[in-house]
């Protein structure tokens, strides 16, 4: 436990803090993509409100794909990964901690940024609440499932586009449930069921993903 | 036979294009993947044969140098 805490958690946080600009870039990308939509489809408040939740979620998925491979890439190429695997700690626990740090440093800032996005796209308060809740439940799922694909592609020289190809279809159900939760909120309908489904997917991923990530990392070492 | 004539059959009640396009594309796609698998099989067999020939050449070359060396010693 202590090994994971001070060897991985603190290390990754310190590293993330040191590479702040790299972390800020996907967020800037997100902000810019969201800005493009009013310019592209017209600034009518009703239109924006209609497409808003979808736009925010799609932008969040795309921007997360850009930064996803940070999770293991450096560690793989500089050999730190080999040392993790030989540290005597279980690989799934290491992966789980790394995913947690990744979520903290790349999605928590997004959550903080989300009121601004909601303002840009003219979302109502109810819609924003729903959006916030779906982001809170959905983004850890992005990190967990994304980490499996990152683990698989980390050894490839040009894995970037491939990563997106692998992950986008897998994220579609999340997108559907999350945006329809916000849509339901817009119509003043209950959306607890949507949240429950996203929560169930998150729990399933929490149970299964660390094993899959560990396996993927071992495969990439071969 | 549900159709009165061959003409009616080909006409497919006005849906000829969609029906025949569907069946055509299906059989084409199926044929292509079978063809592709067969071509790959042939290519692989050829490659294996080439590889075997290469091994043979290397073995003969090694044999030759060995014989040369022993020949000099004698």
């Amino acid at each position: 436990m202590k090994a994971l805490w001070s060897g991985i958690f603190k290390r990754d946080l310190a590293l993330a803090f040191r590479q702040r600009s790299e972390l800020a870039q996907p967020l800037m990308f997100l902000l810019m993509v969201v800005t493009l939509f009013p310019l592209g489809v017209g600034p009518g408040p009703a239109t924006l409100q209609k497409i808003g939740p979808g736009v925010i979620w799609i932008a969040a998925i795309l921007s997360s794909l850009l930064a996803m491979d940070r999770m293991f890439r450096d560690d793989f190429w500089d050999g730190s990964m080999e040392q993790y695997l030989l540290s005597g700690q279980s690989v799934w626990a290491i992966s789980a901690v790394k995913v947690l740090v990744h979520w903290l440093v790349s999605f928590v800032p997004l959550l903080i940024l989300s009121p601004l996005l909601a303002l840009f796209l003219n979302l109502t308060v109810q819609m924003y609440t729903a959006l916030m809740l779906t982001l809170l439940l959905g983004t850890p799922l992005l990190s967990l499932v994304g980490a499996i694909a990152v683990g698989l592609t980390v050894g490839l020289q040009r894995g970037g586009v491939l990563l997106a190809l692998l992950l986008i279809p897998v994220f579609i159900p999340l997108l559907i449930f999350a945006t329809s939760a916000v849509d339901a909120a817009a119509l003043q309908l209950p959306y607890r069921a949507h949240l429950a489904i996203i929560g169930a997917m998150l729990l399933a991923a929490m149970a299964a993903a660390p094993m899959a990530i560990a396996y993927a990392l071992k495969v990439s070492q071969n | 036979m549900q159709f009165d004539s061959w003409q009616a059959f080909w006409h497919m009640g006005g849906y000829a294009f969609y029906v025949w396009a569907s069946f055509g594309v299906t059989f084409l796609a199926m044929g292509l993947i079978v063809l592709n698998s067969m071509m790959t099989h042939k290519k692989l067999l050829k490659e294996v044969a080439q590889e075997a020939a290469r091994q043979q050449r290397i073995a003969t070359a090694k044999q030759a140098t060995k014989q040369n060396l022993t020949g000099e010693e004698v």
Partner: protein
């Protein structure tokens, strides 16, 4: 209980098995598909609503059903490979991917061609078509991941993990898309107890379904043979086999 299966985990035995099975899959597949198509096209009665356009059902429904099941079969092979570390299981998995993708493509194309006369447009974001499209993406993802690795051993394992991630998602995708769009015609075949289509229409459909399944199996064993040779070409038995094949060819 499963001991008898183990010899087939050896590539050499697996290759022989594939060679034996290939004709038994291929020719019945051709026969069934021909019978199903001819029966469906010429002898099955017309649908009173959709006229003759419904005859596309004889390829659309089998391909739609089997595109999903092929993906599941692929994931089962991947699971076997990962859990029992059978190399041949990964080979079987990767042999299924292209044929699965082709069948998915067929389902998509025929769905669109059926949709045009029915809905008046080639593409509708209907639940079945949408989930077929996503399924095609999943197939392509597995195939491109496999292709990206130079070491095919590693590639098989990586693609296997991705197939498993995908198969967990297939039902979620299916139901989420269905729920997202309820404009859909409802599956007609699984309602055996209260058939919504006449038996004269159903029989050719079942024959075509069997034909498609056999076709997928036939292409899978063909491609699996290729995969085995590709990975085992340095083993003596492959060389011997090629040699003897050549000799018989010369004899002919």
């Amino acid at each position: 209980m499963w001991k008898w299966l183990h010899p087939y985990a050896k590539p050499e035995r697996a290759y022989q098995l594939c060679s034996t099975l290939q004709p038994y899959f291929f020719w019945p597949a051709v026969l069934c598909i021909l019978v199903g198509s001819v029966w469906g096209l010429a002898f099955a009665p017309q649908d009173y609503q959709q006229g003759d356009s419904f005859r596309i059902i004889y390829i659309h429904v089998p391909s739609a059903i089997l595109s999903m099941s092929t993906y599941v079969a692929m994931a089962v092979a991947a699971l076997v490979g990962i859990v029992w570390q059978w190399r041949t299981a990964f080979m079987a998995m990767i042999a299924m991917a292209p044929v699965g993708a082709v069948v998915t493509f067929i389902a998509l194309f025929t769905g669109a061609a059926w949709g045009k006369p029915m809905w008046g447009t080639w593409w509708v974001w209907d639940a079945r078509l949408t989930s077929e499209l996503i399924l095609l993406f999943l197939y392509l993802g597995v195939m491109s991941l496999y292709g990206a690795f130079e070491d095919k051993q590693q590639a098989g394992k990586a693609a296997g993990v991705m197939a498993l991630v995908g198969v967990v998602n297939v039902p979620i995708i299916h139901y989420s898309v269905e729920w997202w769009n309820t404009l859909h015609q409802g599956a007609t075949i699984s309602k055996f107890d209260k058939p919504s289509i006449a038996p004269e229409m159903l029989w050719p459909l079942l024959i075509a379904l069997l034909g498609f399944a056999l076709f997928i199996a036939a292409v899978t064993v063909m491609r699996m043979k290729n995969e085995i040779i590709r990975r085992e070409y340095h083993r003596p038995w492959v060389k011997e086999m090629v040699q003897s094949a050549k000799e018989t060819n010369h004899a002919v």
